[in-house]
Amino acid sequence: MDFDLSSDQQLLMTSFESLLEAYRALPVGSHGYTLYSKELQGELAASGFLDVAAAEGFGPLEAALLAEEAATSPYGAELAASALIGPLLDGAEGPIAVAWGLGEPVRYLPQARTVCIIQGDEVLVASPETGAIREVDTVGAYPMGALEKAPSNAATLDAKTSAAVRCRALIAIAAEAAGLMRAALEHAVQYVKDRQQFGQSLGAFQAIQHRLAENAQIVRAARSLAFRAAWRDDECSAASACLYAQNAMRKLIHDCHQFSGAMGLTLEFPLHLWTYRLKLLQGEAGGRAGQAALVASNLWGAS
């Protein structure tokens, strides 16, 4: 058990952070609901970071470390599913989108070169054909699209690979959610430090301090559970980490908006980029009931 990054992990994160550096600055003025960055997506593909889990000495934990970090940028680009699931699919091209059903809005589907369609225990893999995707106009801060039917080139994965893909897809959600929560909280904390009311900064009020401190616990727990799930790479840990995040995020989203006042509801203020991504993750993959069923069947043999 070691909670510090190894020197290789440190090197990885340092170079990843320098790539992200250019995508940290908050956009000026109104930036719309979705702040997708084609440039960031391109850099991720070109830099090889999407393949980190296949690299010598690395695995899903390193992919999850990157996913958590990437999610803190206000700019959206798909990394989590591509880095976690990509290595399981021989030669699949990223970005990868995960569809938890046909006809439903799917994150990053309009950008995806590969889509994993999860249908019960079975997973189909396909390259979305042009014209087959319906773009979905959304207030959620991810670009979304929907597939009405499976593409003609869809192939069904064998049972073992299907199970592995489903597990990694949950780890991807958990890691992404952890990073989004961290960024949203950091932003709200900065706001209450800066904002003056009653002759002092809002952060001086204990009522606000305590609620933000409770969220700091949530962020730390969600991160550590996501990373441990990635290290273990098993369905129960993955579903449990995902469930923890899906349970906890509602409080965090609420509190971060609450303490940002009306400013936090504007499209000039970046908070929604993290909270409205989180809102889309809250019910993904069957939501709490879906994760709980997996945990209960793994731990207690429940059906």
């Binding site: 904390v189 401190a213 727990a221 990373f227 441990r228 709490r288 207690w300």
Partner: protein
């Protein structure tokens, strides 16, 4: 970063599990339900701890020069986690090995070490912790109990409260004021049978033996019973409690209680979707507490400065503990009310004080706000 146990740590877990199988009697769960400070558990601990010592599991992490085996503090943590999960058969004696012993090793004189450490290693001595007072709870620095110097000794007057185990304890790790300044406080190691000490139990919902008042009226304490220099009290306390940074691994008993409750629901075919969501959520909260506690333990083991993870871990433990207690009340109220599953009562009695004993959860929130988030006036 990695989350695995070494083969040695796995073997240790097996050893402890086998030890518990062999040495916990059949009616252990109903004994344990009387709480760690009860006469029954205290008596039991005096049989159990010597056997634990013989198996090398009581204080293996103590340095060899003080009678330990110099094992890693991780080993001691693993043992502590498994014993708490089992209902804490060491009773009050976990104090001795966790922090009172180590404080005496660090600050004690050779005579004090000679007098106390051997007894602790033998496993038949009970200590209590005399910190809190009627007017000094969260604000411990407001304590009023005074130790006035008179030649080679001190005369102590004052009152302690909430003192766990006091009635059956042989010694007290006592904090008293030795000067007028707010921080002029010293630690004394005093025998509880000393003239002038009166102990009065306080009835409570946490169980018998866990809460007492201790009155100190003109108690004579020798200079040789002071631990560390006069006025060094805070430093000693800080040092000692650093070993308790993360508090009790409460998630372990909480998880066992949760598993037991789920089995009960399954037995009556009533583990449906609602219960599954609640159970899996409580489970994930316990695992969150576990992983954060491990992180805090790991940090202490590396002597890294606390980045706030210890406070976060404590808060996480309180949340998990309460979530499991609520799961029982929501889904199996009959287990809470009845006496068929004494372990459920054991858990509840302990869970109820999780956010208070050892320092209020709100104090941890203050620390997180200040040290982790950088908020504050």
């Amino acid at each position: 970063m990695e989350f695995g146990w070494t083969p040695e740590q796995k073997a240790l877990r097996q050893k402890v599990a086998a030890f518990l199988d062999a040495h916990l009697p059949e009616d252990w769960e109903s004994i344990a339900s009387q709480s760690p400070g009860s006469p029954a558990v205290t008596e039991f601990s005096k049989q159990f701890c010597p056997k634990l010592a013989e198996a090398g599991l009581l204080a293996s992490h103590w340095p060899e020069e003080f009678g330990g085996a110099g094992a890693s503090a991780w080993d001691h943590f693993i043992v502590g986690e498994m014993l708490w999960e089992a209902g804490e058969p060491r009773g009050p004696q976990y104090y001795n090995v966790n922090w009172i012993g180590p404080a005496i090793m660090q600050y004690g004189t050779a005579e004090q070490q000679e007098q106390h450490l051997g007894r602790m290693l033998k496993g038949d001595v009970i200590w209590c912790q005399g910190f809190s007072e009627p007017s000094a709870g969260s604000d411990l620095a407001a304590l009023r109990t005074r130790a006035e110097r008179e030649g080679e000794s001190y005369v102590v007057n004052g009152q302690k409260i909430w003192t766990s185990y006091a009635r059956l304890a042989e010694f007290c790790f006592l904090l008293a004021r030795t000067g007028a300044g707010k921080k002029e406080i010293s630690v004394f190691l005093i025998p509880m049978d000393r003239k002038g000490i009166t102990v009065r139990p306080i009835d409570s919902v946490v169980g018998d033996g866990d809460l007492h008042e201790v009155f100190l009226d003109d108690v004579e304490v020798l200079e040789s019973e002071r631990l560390g220099q006069e006025g060094l009290g805070w430093e000693v306390v800080r040092y000692a409690l650093n070993f308790e940074r993360v508090g009790i691994p409460r998630y372990a008993l909480a998880l066992r209680t949760l598993n037991r409750t789920v089995a009960e629901l399954q037995g009556s075919a009533s583990f449906g979707e609602g219960a599954q969501i609640a159970a899996a959520s409580a489970h994930s909260a316990c695992e969150a507490a576990r992983i954060l506690v491990y992180e805090a333990v790991g940090q202490r083991m590396k002597s890294s400065p606390d980045t706030g993870v210890a406070s976060i871990a404590r808060l996480s433990v309180v949340r998990a503990e309460n979530q499991v207690a609520d799961f029982v009340l929501d889904w199996t109220p009959q287990l809470f009310v009845g006496d068929e599953q004494p372990m459920v009562a054991t858990h509840h009695k302990r869970a109820i004080s999780a956010g208070i004993a050892g320092g209020a959860a709100e104090i941890q929130l203050n620390l997180i706000a200040r040290n982790v988030l950088g908020l504050g006036a």
